[in-house]
Symmetry: C2
Subunit: 189 residues, 2 copies
Protein backbone atom coordinates (compact mmCIF):
# COMPACT_ATOMS: atom_id res chain seq x y z
CA UNK A 1 0.00 0.00 0.00
CA UNK A 2 1.80 3.03 -1.33
CA UNK A 3 0.39 5.66 1.05
CA UNK A 4 1.30 3.55 4.09
CA UNK A 5 4.83 2.82 2.87
CA UNK A 6 5.42 6.52 2.21
CA UNK A 7 4.24 7.36 5.71
CA UNK A 8 6.52 4.69 7.21
CA UNK A 9 9.48 6.10 5.27
CA UNK A 10 8.61 9.65 6.42
CA UNK A 11 7.80 9.05 10.08
CA UNK A 12 8.89 5.55 11.08
CA UNK A 13 11.93 5.39 13.36
CA UNK A 14 14.15 2.32 13.49
CA UNK A 15 14.85 1.62 17.17
CA UNK A 16 16.69 -1.67 16.70
CA UNK A 17 17.11 -4.30 14.02
CA UNK A 18 13.64 -5.61 14.85
CA UNK A 19 11.69 -2.64 16.26
CA UNK A 20 10.16 0.10 14.14
CA UNK A 21 8.53 3.00 16.00
CA UNK A 22 5.36 4.10 14.23
CA UNK A 23 3.59 5.67 17.19
CA UNK A 24 3.09 8.99 15.40
CA UNK A 25 0.42 7.49 13.13
CA UNK A 26 -0.42 3.84 14.00
CA UNK A 27 -0.27 2.81 17.65
CA UNK A 28 -0.29 5.87 19.92
CA UNK A 29 -1.09 8.91 17.84
CA UNK A 30 -3.28 7.83 14.93
CA UNK A 31 -3.69 9.38 11.49
CA UNK A 32 -7.42 8.78 10.97
CA UNK A 33 -7.36 9.51 7.25
CA UNK A 34 -4.57 6.99 6.65
CA UNK A 35 -6.44 4.53 8.89
CA UNK A 36 -9.56 4.96 6.76
CA UNK A 37 -7.52 4.14 3.65
CA UNK A 38 -6.12 1.07 5.43
CA UNK A 39 -9.69 -0.07 6.10
CA UNK A 40 -10.64 0.44 2.46
CA UNK A 41 -7.60 -1.53 1.31
CA UNK A 42 -8.40 -4.50 3.58
CA UNK A 43 -12.06 -4.39 2.53
CA UNK A 44 -11.01 -4.68 -1.12
CA UNK A 45 -8.60 -7.52 -0.44
CA UNK A 46 -11.13 -9.58 1.52
CA UNK A 47 -14.35 -8.60 -0.26
CA UNK A 48 -15.02 -12.09 -1.65
CA UNK A 49 -14.47 -13.96 1.62
CA UNK A 50 -18.03 -13.56 2.98
CA UNK A 51 -16.74 -12.02 6.22
CA UNK A 52 -19.24 -12.04 9.11
CA UNK A 53 -17.05 -10.35 11.70
CA UNK A 54 -13.69 -8.62 12.13
CA UNK A 55 -11.69 -9.64 15.21
CA UNK A 56 -8.61 -7.93 16.66
CA UNK A 57 -6.77 -7.39 19.97
CA UNK A 58 -6.88 -4.28 22.13
CA UNK A 59 -5.50 -1.66 21.92
CA UNK A 60 -3.55 -1.00 18.72
CA UNK A 61 -5.64 -3.33 16.58
CA UNK A 62 -8.88 -1.47 17.27
CA UNK A 63 -8.44 1.42 14.85
CA UNK A 64 -7.55 -0.63 11.73
CA UNK A 65 -10.11 -3.32 12.60
CA UNK A 66 -12.88 -0.79 13.07
CA UNK A 67 -12.38 0.97 9.74
CA UNK A 68 -12.16 -2.40 8.00
CA UNK A 69 -15.41 -3.57 9.61
CA UNK A 70 -17.06 -0.28 8.66
CA UNK A 71 -16.06 -0.74 5.01
CA UNK A 72 -17.18 -4.38 5.02
CA UNK A 73 -20.45 -3.55 6.80
CA UNK A 74 -19.96 -6.11 9.59
CA UNK A 75 -19.44 -5.91 13.39
CA UNK A 76 -15.98 -5.64 14.90
CA UNK A 77 -14.88 -7.43 18.06
CA UNK A 78 -11.72 -6.88 20.09
CA UNK A 79 -10.20 -9.49 22.36
CA UNK A 80 -9.40 -8.13 25.81
CA UNK A 81 -6.08 -8.50 27.59
CA UNK A 82 -7.74 -7.86 30.94
CA UNK A 83 -11.03 -9.62 31.47
CA UNK A 84 -13.70 -7.23 32.78
CA UNK A 85 -15.40 -8.26 36.03
CA UNK A 86 -18.72 -8.10 34.19
CA UNK A 87 -17.72 -10.80 31.67
CA UNK A 88 -19.03 -14.14 32.89
CA UNK A 89 -19.00 -16.57 29.99
CA UNK A 90 -15.90 -16.37 27.86
CA UNK A 91 -13.22 -18.08 25.77
CA UNK A 92 -9.62 -17.42 26.68
CA UNK A 93 -6.17 -18.33 25.52
CA UNK A 94 -2.59 -17.42 26.46
CA UNK A 95 -0.20 -15.70 24.08
CA UNK A 96 3.55 -15.20 24.41
CA UNK A 97 4.79 -11.89 23.00
CA UNK A 98 8.43 -11.98 21.92
CA UNK A 99 8.38 -8.19 21.50
CA UNK A 100 7.19 -7.58 25.06
CA UNK A 101 8.80 -10.76 26.42
CA UNK A 102 5.80 -11.79 28.41
CA UNK A 103 2.71 -13.95 28.32
CA UNK A 104 -0.72 -12.41 28.38
CA UNK A 105 -4.26 -13.78 28.29
CA UNK A 106 -6.77 -12.98 25.58
CA UNK A 107 -10.47 -13.14 26.38
CA UNK A 108 -13.64 -12.79 24.36
CA UNK A 109 -17.22 -13.11 25.46
CA UNK A 110 -18.79 -16.34 24.14
CA UNK A 111 -21.87 -14.53 22.89
CA UNK A 112 -19.96 -12.69 20.14
CA UNK A 113 -18.47 -15.67 18.29
CA UNK A 114 -21.04 -17.93 16.69
CA UNK A 115 -20.60 -21.38 15.11
CA UNK A 116 -20.14 -21.18 11.36
CA UNK A 117 -19.14 -17.51 11.22
CA UNK A 118 -16.39 -16.38 8.86
CA UNK A 119 -13.96 -14.24 10.82
CA UNK A 120 -11.33 -11.84 9.48
CA UNK A 121 -8.41 -11.19 11.86
CA UNK A 122 -6.80 -7.74 11.74
CA UNK A 123 -3.72 -6.56 13.62
CA UNK A 124 -1.26 -3.67 13.43
CA UNK A 125 1.90 -5.80 13.45
CA UNK A 126 2.84 -9.35 12.50
CA UNK A 127 6.05 -10.71 13.99
CA UNK A 128 6.20 -14.36 15.13
CA UNK A 129 2.45 -14.70 14.62
CA UNK A 130 1.59 -15.72 18.18
CA UNK A 131 -1.13 -13.09 18.62
CA UNK A 132 -2.87 -14.19 15.41
CA UNK A 133 -2.65 -17.86 16.41
CA UNK A 134 -4.16 -16.91 19.78
CA UNK A 135 -7.07 -15.21 18.04
CA UNK A 136 -7.51 -18.27 15.82
CA UNK A 137 -7.72 -20.39 18.96
CA UNK A 138 -10.52 -18.16 20.33
CA UNK A 139 -12.41 -18.24 17.03
CA UNK A 140 -12.20 -22.03 16.84
CA UNK A 141 -13.27 -22.46 20.47
CA UNK A 142 -16.47 -20.74 19.35
CA UNK A 143 -16.91 -23.04 16.33
CA UNK A 144 -16.22 -20.25 13.85
CA UNK A 145 -13.55 -20.09 11.16
CA UNK A 146 -10.69 -17.74 10.34
CA UNK A 147 -10.99 -16.94 6.64
CA UNK A 148 -8.41 -14.19 6.40
CA UNK A 149 -5.66 -12.30 8.19
CA UNK A 150 -4.98 -8.63 7.47
CA UNK A 151 -1.80 -7.05 8.83
CA UNK A 152 -0.87 -3.38 8.64
CA UNK A 153 2.91 -3.85 9.03
CA UNK A 154 4.58 -7.25 8.77
CA UNK A 155 8.09 -7.91 9.99
CA UNK A 156 9.17 -9.86 6.94
CA UNK A 157 12.31 -11.08 8.68
CA UNK A 158 10.31 -12.93 11.34
CA UNK A 159 8.64 -16.32 11.02
CA UNK A 160 5.02 -15.09 11.26
CA UNK A 161 4.26 -15.40 7.54
CA UNK A 162 5.64 -18.91 7.29
CA UNK A 163 3.67 -20.09 10.33
CA UNK A 164 0.39 -18.54 9.11
CA UNK A 165 0.77 -19.85 5.55
CA UNK A 166 1.36 -23.33 6.95
CA UNK A 167 -2.09 -23.01 8.52
CA UNK A 168 -3.53 -22.26 5.10
CA UNK A 169 -4.51 -18.68 5.99
CA UNK A 170 -5.21 -16.04 3.37
CA UNK A 171 -2.68 -13.46 4.60
CA UNK A 172 -2.52 -9.88 3.36
CA UNK A 173 0.05 -7.42 4.71
CA UNK A 174 -0.08 -3.80 3.58
CA UNK A 175 3.65 -3.22 4.17
CA UNK A 176 6.31 -5.89 4.65
CA UNK A 177 9.53 -4.77 6.33
CA UNK A 178 12.84 -6.21 5.28
CA UNK A 179 15.58 -6.66 7.89
CA UNK A 180 16.43 -3.23 9.28
CA UNK A 181 20.10 -2.34 9.59
CA UNK A 182 21.20 1.11 10.67
CA UNK A 183 18.38 3.61 10.30
CA UNK A 184 17.10 2.35 6.99
CA UNK A 185 13.67 0.92 6.33
CA UNK A 186 13.33 -1.32 3.28
CA UNK A 187 10.25 -3.11 2.11
CA UNK A 188 9.83 -6.56 0.59
CA UNK A 189 7.71 -6.43 -2.53
Amino acid sequence: MKLLKEKILEEGIVLSDSILKVDSFINHQIDPKLMQEIGREFAIKFKDMKIDKVLTIEASGIAPAMVTALELGVPMLFAKKHKPITMKDFYFTSVYSFTKQKTYDLTISKEYIKPGENVLLIDDFLSAGNAILGLQDLVEQGGAKVVGVGIVIEKGFKEGRKRLLEKGFHLESLAILDKMDGNRVKFIG
Copy 2:
Protein backbone atom coordinates in the same frame (compact mmCIF):
# COMPACT_ATOMS: atom_id res chain seq x y z
CA MET B 1 -28.55 11.15 20.09
CA LYS B 2 -31.62 9.19 19.06
CA LEU B 3 -29.89 6.29 17.27
CA LEU B 4 -27.61 5.65 20.27
CA LYS B 5 -30.45 5.79 22.78
CA GLU B 6 -32.49 3.34 20.72
CA LYS B 7 -29.54 0.95 20.58
CA ILE B 8 -29.05 1.22 24.36
CA LEU B 9 -32.74 0.42 24.92
CA GLU B 10 -32.52 -2.53 22.53
CA GLU B 11 -29.22 -4.09 23.58
CA GLY B 12 -28.06 -2.54 26.86
CA ILE B 13 -28.30 -4.79 29.90
CA VAL B 14 -28.61 -3.38 33.42
CA LEU B 15 -26.20 -5.34 35.62
CA SER B 16 -26.65 -3.29 38.78
CA ASP B 17 -27.95 0.12 39.76
CA SER B 18 -24.77 1.68 38.38
CA ILE B 19 -23.49 -0.69 35.67
CA LEU B 20 -24.93 -0.89 32.17
CA LYS B 21 -23.52 -3.59 29.88
CA VAL B 22 -23.14 -2.27 26.34
CA ASP B 23 -20.44 -4.64 25.15
CA SER B 24 -22.49 -5.79 22.15
CA PHE B 25 -21.93 -2.45 20.38
CA ILE B 26 -19.60 -0.08 22.31
CA ASN B 27 -16.77 -1.62 24.30
CA HIS B 28 -16.14 -5.21 23.22
CA GLN B 29 -18.09 -5.86 20.09
CA ILE B 30 -18.44 -2.59 18.16
CA ASP B 31 -21.12 -1.48 15.74
CA PRO B 32 -18.95 0.47 13.27
CA LYS B 33 -21.87 2.21 11.58
CA LEU B 34 -23.23 3.49 14.88
CA MET B 35 -19.68 4.49 15.83
CA GLN B 36 -19.38 6.50 12.63
CA GLU B 37 -22.59 8.33 13.49
CA ILE B 38 -21.23 9.01 16.99
CA GLY B 39 -18.13 10.57 15.39
CA ARG B 40 -20.30 12.74 13.14
CA GLU B 41 -22.38 13.89 16.09
CA PHE B 42 -19.31 14.90 18.13
CA ALA B 43 -17.81 16.64 15.10
CA ILE B 44 -20.95 18.76 14.75
CA LYS B 45 -21.07 19.59 18.46
CA PHE B 46 -17.43 20.70 18.58
CA LYS B 47 -16.99 22.12 15.08
CA ASP B 48 -16.43 25.71 16.26
CA MET B 49 -13.85 24.87 18.93
CA LYS B 50 -10.79 24.91 16.63
CA ILE B 51 -9.79 21.40 17.74
CA ASP B 52 -6.16 20.44 16.98
CA LYS B 53 -6.25 16.93 18.41
CA VAL B 54 -8.60 14.33 19.88
CA LEU B 55 -7.35 12.53 23.00
CA THR B 56 -8.79 9.43 24.64
CA ILE B 57 -7.78 6.41 26.77
CA GLU B 58 -7.18 2.90 25.54
CA ALA B 59 -9.01 0.67 24.82
CA SER B 60 -12.73 1.53 24.70
CA GLY B 61 -12.19 5.20 23.89
CA ILE B 62 -10.26 4.47 20.70
CA ALA B 63 -13.21 3.74 18.41
CA PRO B 64 -15.31 6.84 19.21
CA ALA B 65 -12.22 9.08 19.34
CA MET B 66 -10.97 7.88 15.98
CA VAL B 67 -14.21 8.46 14.10
CA THR B 68 -14.50 11.90 15.71
CA ALA B 69 -10.94 12.80 14.68
CA LEU B 70 -11.65 11.53 11.17
CA GLU B 71 -14.70 13.78 10.88
CA LEU B 72 -12.82 16.77 12.31
CA GLY B 73 -9.78 16.13 10.10
CA VAL B 74 -7.28 16.11 13.00
CA PRO B 75 -4.98 13.47 14.58
CA MET B 76 -6.17 11.23 17.40
CA LEU B 77 -4.04 10.23 20.38
CA PHE B 78 -4.76 7.57 22.98
CA ALA B 79 -3.25 7.57 26.46
CA LYS B 80 -1.74 4.22 27.40
CA LYS B 81 -2.46 2.33 30.59
CA HIS B 82 0.76 0.33 30.19
CA LYS B 83 3.77 2.34 29.12
CA PRO B 84 5.59 0.67 26.21
CA ILE B 85 9.29 -0.04 26.77
CA THR B 86 10.03 2.06 23.68
CA MET B 87 8.48 5.23 25.16
CA LYS B 88 11.23 7.32 26.70
CA ASP B 89 9.96 10.83 27.21
CA PHE B 90 6.43 10.99 28.56
CA TYR B 91 3.85 12.64 30.77
CA PHE B 92 2.02 10.45 33.23
CA THR B 93 -0.69 10.69 35.84
CA SER B 94 -2.56 8.30 38.14
CA VAL B 95 -6.29 7.77 37.95
CA TYR B 96 -8.56 5.99 40.41
CA SER B 97 -11.42 4.09 38.79
CA PHE B 98 -14.44 3.62 41.05
CA THR B 99 -15.94 1.17 38.54
CA LYS B 100 -12.86 -1.07 38.57
CA GLN B 101 -11.89 -0.15 42.12
CA LYS B 102 -8.24 0.35 41.32
CA THR B 103 -5.68 2.97 40.43
CA TYR B 104 -3.99 2.93 37.05
CA ASP B 105 -1.39 5.11 35.36
CA LEU B 106 -1.99 7.01 32.14
CA THR B 107 0.94 7.83 29.90
CA ILE B 108 1.38 9.84 26.74
CA SER B 109 4.51 10.56 24.77
CA LYS B 110 5.60 14.20 25.18
CA GLU B 111 6.05 14.65 21.46
CA TYR B 112 2.32 14.38 20.71
CA ILE B 113 1.02 17.18 22.96
CA LYS B 114 2.24 20.63 21.96
CA PRO B 115 1.93 23.94 23.84
CA GLY B 116 -1.06 25.95 22.72
CA GLU B 117 -2.97 23.06 21.15
CA ASN B 118 -6.74 22.81 21.58
CA VAL B 119 -7.56 19.27 22.67
CA LEU B 120 -10.92 17.52 22.61
CA LEU B 121 -11.29 14.65 25.11
CA ILE B 122 -13.49 11.72 24.10
CA ASP B 123 -14.46 8.71 26.21
CA ASP B 124 -17.05 5.96 26.11
CA PHE B 125 -18.34 6.47 29.69
CA LEU B 126 -18.46 9.30 32.20
CA SER B 127 -18.96 8.33 35.80
CA ALA B 128 -17.10 10.22 38.55
CA GLY B 129 -15.00 12.00 35.91
CA ASN B 130 -11.60 10.83 37.18
CA ALA B 131 -10.44 9.55 33.79
CA ILE B 132 -11.27 12.86 32.12
CA LEU B 133 -9.52 14.82 34.86
CA GLY B 134 -6.48 12.56 34.39
CA LEU B 135 -6.45 13.33 30.67
CA GLN B 136 -6.75 17.04 31.46
CA ASP B 137 -3.70 16.73 33.71
CA LEU B 138 -1.69 15.17 30.84
CA VAL B 139 -2.83 17.85 28.39
CA GLU B 140 -1.87 20.64 30.77
CA GLN B 141 1.51 19.09 31.56
CA GLY B 142 2.17 19.57 27.84
CA GLY B 143 1.03 23.21 27.89
CA ALA B 144 -2.04 22.47 25.80
CA LYS B 145 -5.68 23.17 26.66
CA VAL B 146 -8.82 21.03 26.95
CA VAL B 147 -11.51 22.83 24.97
CA GLY B 148 -14.19 20.16 25.04
CA VAL B 149 -15.24 16.80 26.46
CA GLY B 150 -17.36 14.38 24.44
CA ILE B 151 -18.90 11.39 26.21
CA VAL B 152 -20.81 8.56 24.56
CA ILE B 153 -22.74 7.44 27.66
CA GLU B 154 -22.88 9.51 30.84
CA LYS B 155 -24.00 8.10 34.15
CA GLY B 156 -26.19 11.03 35.05
CA PHE B 157 -26.55 9.84 38.63
CA LYS B 158 -22.80 10.18 39.28
CA GLU B 159 -20.90 13.36 40.06
CA GLY B 160 -18.86 13.51 36.83
CA ARG B 161 -20.93 16.24 35.18
CA LYS B 162 -20.84 18.48 38.24
CA ARG B 163 -17.06 18.13 38.59
CA LEU B 164 -16.39 18.80 34.91
CA LEU B 165 -18.72 21.79 34.73
CA GLU B 166 -16.97 23.26 37.77
CA LYS B 167 -13.78 23.20 35.68
CA GLY B 168 -15.56 25.22 33.01
CA PHE B 169 -15.46 22.39 30.43
CA HIS B 170 -17.73 22.32 27.39
CA LEU B 171 -19.27 18.89 28.04
CA GLU B 172 -21.41 17.02 25.52
CA SER B 173 -22.87 13.59 26.32
CA LEU B 174 -24.75 11.70 23.63
CA ALA B 175 -26.85 9.72 26.11
CA ILE B 176 -27.31 10.49 29.81
CA LEU B 177 -28.50 7.61 31.98
CA ASP B 178 -30.86 8.23 34.85
CA LYS B 179 -30.58 6.07 37.97
CA MET B 180 -31.22 2.48 36.98
CA ASP B 181 -33.59 0.45 39.13
CA GLY B 182 -34.66 -3.04 38.18
CA ASN B 183 -33.95 -3.70 34.53
CA ARG B 184 -35.06 -0.35 33.22
CA VAL B 185 -32.93 2.19 31.43
CA LYS B 186 -34.17 5.77 31.51
CA PHE B 187 -32.48 8.77 30.01
CA ILE B 188 -32.19 12.32 31.30
CA GLY B 189 -33.12 14.85 28.63
